[in-house]
């Protein structure tokens, strides 16, 4: 529906006459887009031609469309603005599917523009034709196939709104080539507002319900706060901090929520879940009131759902109504933007604070301190071989915890989450939901573009990094001095760990027998490669790498081949059934 606003007595507005391609570029400008991650091809050549004439938007040419999606994703996670991707039809868009699914699982705002064959060829199995909207439907928040030039502007406005509001997510816009023809021009005006009658994401909770929650929270004798990515996506870390300080309750973060609460604060118990800390998991198991905020009770967090927080009343705050009671039935839910709900809760909770039982809380903290004494993240140090945990610890010290850290998926990801203490949100960027190997390097490119002056580190493993290694070329082209820290144990570490635990050490296909020389590989891409294989070299060489501010340094760290990630809750077990070391038994801990 086109609405024209004319003020009586004035002459009608003069519209810009633009082609479909130019309209797309104008829409992106109006939305404040500064980067497009993309790869050209037949169906988007008109759009690329229009892009050629603009200097407001910088195009980053990736080396594989998957890289474009992860880069846009990393950019969005770091700075909160939607990441924008431009790819061609057919293989261009099918290569994006993994990146879309990654962003969709972790609720990252993204706009993907894909070219489509011209309208007269749609459905004819034309060259590079793929049913983009059909293929991406389950991995996007929404998608559009544009069918007229006149609707381009409105679709873009809607797409940005849908991607960035409510629970964010990727939105795909598929546009047939003929609609971008430079020779056909129409009037253009970018709508100021758009009304989508079927899309009303923000729900506000009544004061009465917020007070009910406040009352329940303050009735706790053994409280626990568990927060997830919703704090970071919802920009609610300040409100969360205020609440946690007011209450003096213990808090844990999910893998996606790290940095939502300062990791160095004394109320923080570390990450929870499968590889969470002993104290966080035990506190979850024993708590009597659980406050879950912007988290979705993922199976890697809950373990056995029938044994999850067995004696707790659960309050759940989330922007997505479908997250409520999806996995775990909760006693009270507050639906809305986490920052708004927390703000209201902070206001309403004051009169209830005096009802908190100080003695019980003190006892609870004493119990937690006892659990902390287990020092569950301690590991055996070695003089001969580099322990992967020590690499992350050293990195944390050198960067003073200020770096942006991206990761791939596997053991290195867990060690980075456990040993790099994130005090600020948006600093820890990883594929938590989908678990996409190959995410780390392109994501780091997006982060570096968003924050060129900050240290950006990609913690990876020798298996993951090879999945999107081609992006080293992109890093050279745009001079993105990322630091790649490759924890090289010559195994797909997490696969090997599971094979050790659950398949009696039959390491089926988890050994990387033909690895490249990573230092030479980095050199051939025009970067600096360093290998570290002695524990005594670790700190000086890492320091040296971090000092090279204007170069990408690929640090290949030869680590202990058979180190495992602990603590570990094996799938299907409860929070109080952790393994802290290879020899520990469940019963010792419970």
């Amino acid at each position: 529906m086109k609405k024209m606003y004319h003020v009586q007595g004035r002459k009608p507005r003069e519209y810009m006459k633009l082609s479909g391609s130019e309209i797309i570029i104008e829409c992106l400008k109006k939305e404040g887009v500064d980067f497009i991650f993309g790869y050209p091809g037949g169906a988007v050549l008109h759009i690329y031609d229009a892009l050629f004439n603009t200097d407001k938007i910088k195009h980053i040419l990736v080396r594989h469309e998957q890289g474009a999606t992860h880069a846009a994703d990393g950019y969005a996670r770091a700075c909160g603005k939607p990441g924008v991707v431009l790819v061609t039809s057919g293989p261009g868009i099918t290569n994006c599917v993994t990146g879309l699914a990654t962003a969709h699982m972790d609720s990252v705002p993204m706009i993907i523009i894909s070219g489509q064959v011209s309208r007269q060829y749609v459905g004819s199995d034309a060259f590079q034709e793929a049913d983009a909207t059909g293929i991406t439907r389950p991995v996007t928040k929404h998608n559009f196939l544009i069918d007229s030039r006149e609707s381009i502007a409105e679709v873009f406005k809607k797409a940005f709104k849908i991607a960035t509001t409510g629970r964010p997510g990727p939105v795909l816009i598929d546009i047939p080539k003929d609609l971008t023809d430079p020779n056909v021009k129409i009037n253009f005006e970018y709508p100021k507002k758009v009304n989508i009658r079927s899309y009303k994401p923000a729900i506000s909770e009544s004061e009465a319900k917020i007070q009910q929650a406040a009352k329940l929270i303050c009735s706790a004798k053994k409280p626990m706060i568990y927060t997830g990515g919703g704090i970071i996506l919802g920009n609610a870390h300040k409100e969360l901090n205020t609440l946690v300080k007011k209450l003096n309750f213990p808090i844990t973060n999910t893998l996606m929520g790290l940095g939502g609460y300062p990791a160095t604060d004394k109320q923080f118990l570390g990450m929870l879940g499968m590889h969470g800390t002993y104290e966080a998991n035990m506190a979850m198991h024993d708590c009597d009131v659980l406050l879950a905020i912007g988290a979705r009770f993922d199976d890697r967090v809950t373990g056995d759902t029938s044994k999850f927080c067995p004696s707790a009343k659960i309050i759940h705050i989330d922007v997505d109504p479908s997250s409520i009671s999806k996995i775990i039935e909760v006693d009270l839910s507050l639906i809305g933007e986490t920052s708004k709900i927390l703000k209201a809760l902070n206001k309403s909770i004051s009169p209830f604070l005096k009802h908190i039982n100080k003695t019980s809380l003190k006892k609870w903290w004493a119990q937690i301190d006892k659990w902390k004494l287990k020092k569950c993240l301690s590991y055996k140090k070695s003089k001969n071989i580099i322990k992967p945990q020590s690499v992350i610890e050293t990195l944390y010290e050198i960067t003073k915890g200020q770096a942006y850290v991206t990761s791939d998926v596997g053991q290195h990801q867990m060690w980075a989450a456990q040993y790099y203490k994130f005090d600020k949100p948006n600093r820890w960027i990883n594929s938590g939901g989908l678990g996409t190997m190959g995410f780390g390097l392109p994501a780091a490119m997006g982060v570096k573009l968003a924050y060129p002056k900050s240290d950006v580190i990609c913690v990876t493993g020798e298996a993951s990094i090879l999945m999107c290694i081609q992006e080293l070329a992109t890093c050279l082209q745009y001079r993105l001095p990322i630091k790649v820290i490759n924890l090289n144990n010559r195994y797909m570490g997490m696969v090997r760990q599971w094979q050790e635990f659950f398949y009696e050490g039959r390491y089926a296909m988890s050994y990387m027998e033909a690895l490249p020389d990573f230092t030479q590989l980095a050199n051939s891409f025009g970067h600096i490669g360093i290998q570290i294989d002695k524990p005594s070299d670790l700190e000086p060489k890492l320091k040296e790498a971090m000092k090279m501010k204007d170069r990408l340094v690929f640090v290949d760290v030869i680590t202990d081949q058979e180190e495992n990630v602990y603590p570990m809750i094996k799938s299907g077990q409860a929070h109080n059934e952790m393994h802290l070391s290879p020899t520990s038994k469940d019963t010792e801990l419970a």
């Binding site: 389950p138 196939l145 009303k200 479908s322 409520i324 009671s325």
Partner: protein
């Protein structure tokens, strides 16, 4: 938890891909669709869907939330939660010889169905009613050979002034 039959009414944007979004949600999340019906409404920008699914209580509440989350879904309601009217239409083509004709005519009258096409070897019958009535009619055919059967699937509407078109 016990599975129950739910009739879900949906108003969806009459847009490209709406139907596959809904169908895709059911298959992706492992819900079954017993029957499904889609047609335009008096508002040409909106289509109305009625679908029947078997779900336990926990699953149905999650399903309703997931349907509501779809951007194309304007409104959604579980009609089984309130008083509603349900109808289904059946077209039944029967093979019949001279001897069976009277019996078929009698059954048609009893069920208030109508014979809408006749040839020398077939009768085609139209019947409207609640699903139970449709099933009872089909069962009453006994040995009469059914050549072809078409059912619309359940259609439902709430009683009284309530309307799904009071947009969400």
């Amino acid at each position: 938890m016990k599975e129950r039959r739910h009739i879900i009414s949906l108003l969806v944007e009459n847009e490209f891909g709406s139907l596959s979004r809904i169908a895709g949600l059911f298959s992706a999340r492992g819900y079954n669709i017993h029957c499904l019906n889609v047609a335009p409404t008096n508002d040409e920008s909106i289509s109305r869907m009625t679908l029947v699914t078997l779900c336990d209580d926990l699953k149905i509440s999650q399903l309703m939330k997931q349907l509501n989350k779809l951007v194309d879904v304007v409104n959604v309601k579980d009609l089984t939660e309130e008083t509603h009217i349900e109808r289904e239409m059946l077209l039944l083509k029967l093979k019949c010889n001279k001897k069976q004709r009277d019996e078929i005519k009698r059954l048609t009258d009893i069920f208030r169905a109508r014979i809408i096409d006749v040839t020398d070897t077939t009768y085609t019958i139209e019947l409207t009613g609640a699903t139970e009535k449709i099933l009872a009619f089909i069962n009453s055919m006994g040995k009469i050979k059914i050549i072809e059967m078409v059912r619309s699937g359940a259609l439902g509407i709430s009683r009284g002034i309530d309307s799904l078109e009071n947009i969400k």
